[in-house]
């Protein structure tokens, strides 16, 4: 146990207190994230309320097939992440690393699919402020839709990328045998973060891909 996590940070009395503090810290942080995204959701709501037809029309230009596949990929990564946390609870270092690597690969696949969609949008000249060209009555609101689309999925992608980096760091820590079945707080917190990333996407998917179908 000695070279494992025995050194509690100076300000804490015991590992338990440290665990509770770190967990609460993560929850509060995620609360701030919810509000951070909340502004974008509110903006979306107002814009769509103002231009319902234009938003439906615009959403026909997003790729529902790719969107659905990437949703599946991301949700699967949530599952493998949960398995990584479970392995940590059981103290199985190899399994932690395995599931984390799997999660990372799925996350990369997600980003790749999203990149493909961005590239398609580029081809169709749908990127606001860059090459936006749209014929028709709803030009401005459609641009607004795609502005929100790139902003919101882009913000989400930034979170995915940060998640990948964190997971890589955690995998390395697991490789150095930093965790035990008594101490796996970082793995658990990463799991929480990843759950958040998943949940945000669950809201983004219908907002951008299914509008025309509701």
């Amino acid at each position: 146990m000695s070279d494992k996590h025995t050194a509690v940070a100076e300000q804490f009395d015991d590992p338990e207190q440290e665990y509770h503090a770190a967990t609460l810290g993560m929850w509060v942080f995620l609360a701030t994230e919810v509000l951070f995204f909340g502004v974008l959701f509110a903006s979306y709501a107002v814009s769509r309320f103002n231009y319902p037809e234009a938003f439906a029309e615009a959403s026909r230009h997003t790729d529902i097939v790719l969107g659905t596949i990437s949703t599946g990929v991301l949700l699967t990564s949530g599952f493998t992440m949960a398995l990584a946390v479970r392995s940590a609870k059981l103290g199985r270092d190899k399994a932690i690393i395995g599931f984390l690597v799997l999660t990372i690969l799925l996350a990369i696949a997600f980003l790749f699919i999203e990149g493909t969609e961005y590239y398609q949008a580029y081809g169709e000249q749908l990127i606001p402020a860059f090459n936006f060209m749209y014929e028709g009555a709803h030009e401005k609101p459609v641009e607004l839709f795609f502005f929100l689309y790139f902003l919101m999925t882009g913000m989400h992608a930034v979170h995915v990328t940060i998640g990948i980096l964190i997971m890589a760091a955690i995998a390395i820590m697991a490789g150095r045998r930093r965790f035990t079945s008594y101490y796996y707080t970082p793995v658990e917190l990463t799991g929480l973060y990843w759950a958040f990333v998943d949940i945000v996407w669950i809201f983004l998917y219908p907002l951008f891909y299914l509008v025309a179908r509701t």
């Binding site: 300000q11 503090a21 810290g25 509060v28 909340g38 903006s43 814009s47 402020a129 936006f132």
Partner: protein, 535 residues
Amino acid sequence: MSANAAAEYTSYLGGGDTLKSWLTTLDHKRIAVLYLISITLFFLIGGVAAAVIRLELVTYAGDFVTAETYNKTFSLHGIVMVWFFLIPSIPATLGNFLIPLMVGARDLAFPRLNLASWYLYTVGGIFTIGMVIAGGVDTGWTFYTPFSTMFSNTYVVAAVIGVFIVGFSTIFTGINFIVTIHKMRAPGLTWFRLPMFVWANYATSAIMVLATPVLAMTLTLVAVERIFQIGIFDPALGGDPLLFQHLFWFYSHPAVYIMVLPAMGVASELIACFSRNPIFGYRFMAYSVMAIAVLGFLVWGHHMFVSGQSVYAGMMFSLFSFVVAIPSAIKVFNWTATLYKGSISFEAPMLYALGFVFLFMIGGLTGIVVAALALDVHLTDTYFVIAHFHYIMVGGSVMAYLGGIHFWWPKMTGKMYSEMWGRVAAVLIFVGFNVTFFPQFLLGYLGMPRRYHEYPEALEVLNVISSGGAVILTLGYLLPLVYLLWSLRYGRIAGGNPWEAKGLEWQTSSPPAKHNFKETPVVTEEAYAYSPYKV
């Protein structure tokens, strides 16, 4: 005492005096001192801008600075005072220093995050200063769209980035406080034994954490809209300018509670100590703090009565605003009740605290006036509003901040300042403040609009009085800078508990050792265990 033990007892100020040891410190007390220094610098910058504003307004003609410079000056003043002074002031300095001491912890839960907060604050500050050097910004501190996104030819993006960064400093501070207060209280220190200062900062942190991200994202949208000419606020682009105001005030109204709740916490500590009475209605005080924090999120629309939001929305927001007045009134009532039959002594910190209560009361009462829909339609964007929010923010928060600095100065530095000068400064500030801002109520009532650099000749007398008051006020603000610094060198040794105050922070040496307490204290008493009626 062995050499080892002696080393443990050196205060947080001793041992390692290099610049590096300060800039890399993880000790919450040192970080508090870093904040104290940077925040004071920003107060001076904001103060110089205020001086320019008042100088311009001495005469009715726009003769001292141009309209453009004037716009940049009040924008600078507002941005600096709100984001770089008022919001961080009490939490980041006094809160940082005292919360771990008051809950009997060795440090905040996340010391590295704490240091990072200070760096973010500094980097945000550099952006703001850079923005000023580059040429300033003229949008006012509210960045209203579409002016800020389409029409302003000034450095909006730099200003927005500065505010954005300092926002993250606020969020991190909030997270740190919440976790520390929840998880690191000493044995026996139940929630209802916490000092009001801790309660107040807890409520404040909740607002910081829940409101600031909204501001950050909103400002990001402003920057994006400005840079790329696409966006959701400008009607020409299909956007909705009311949306901006809703989002902005959803943050910025609660933000005024970020400024005033900690001040209420400070006032409670001071009033209890110098009247030797337990806080009257302790639980009600704690509940009111939380109630204010929650209700504060429901009233943002009172800034938008004339914006074009629906009449019904206006009526609801007006109603809710009245409701927030209730917990605030409870607080004033309970402070008064605490003073009643207390054995009051008028030390400098107490003078500040009493000044706080009085000015806060006037600010609050005039708040009810502007919260009334019909009255606000007349008063909005006049000097009445300016006077109202200065009574709350400058009269209230700054007064309490200074009172807190005076009260805990001996704890922070181990030295006493000159009591006489402390009292002189408190009185000067109180007098100067009222002479400066009371006439502005009248000016606003008479119809003087805010943000104009010239005004009808008939209003000159009141403006001259106001500017004269500002001179007294400035003097009052500069005095503490002199005698507090003086005390560092020549002040007499304070001792652990010069005020004979209760509270865990007074049970350790002044200044405290690196990890605060020799051993974790065990709490067996309620808060404010002063025995009334005897000294």
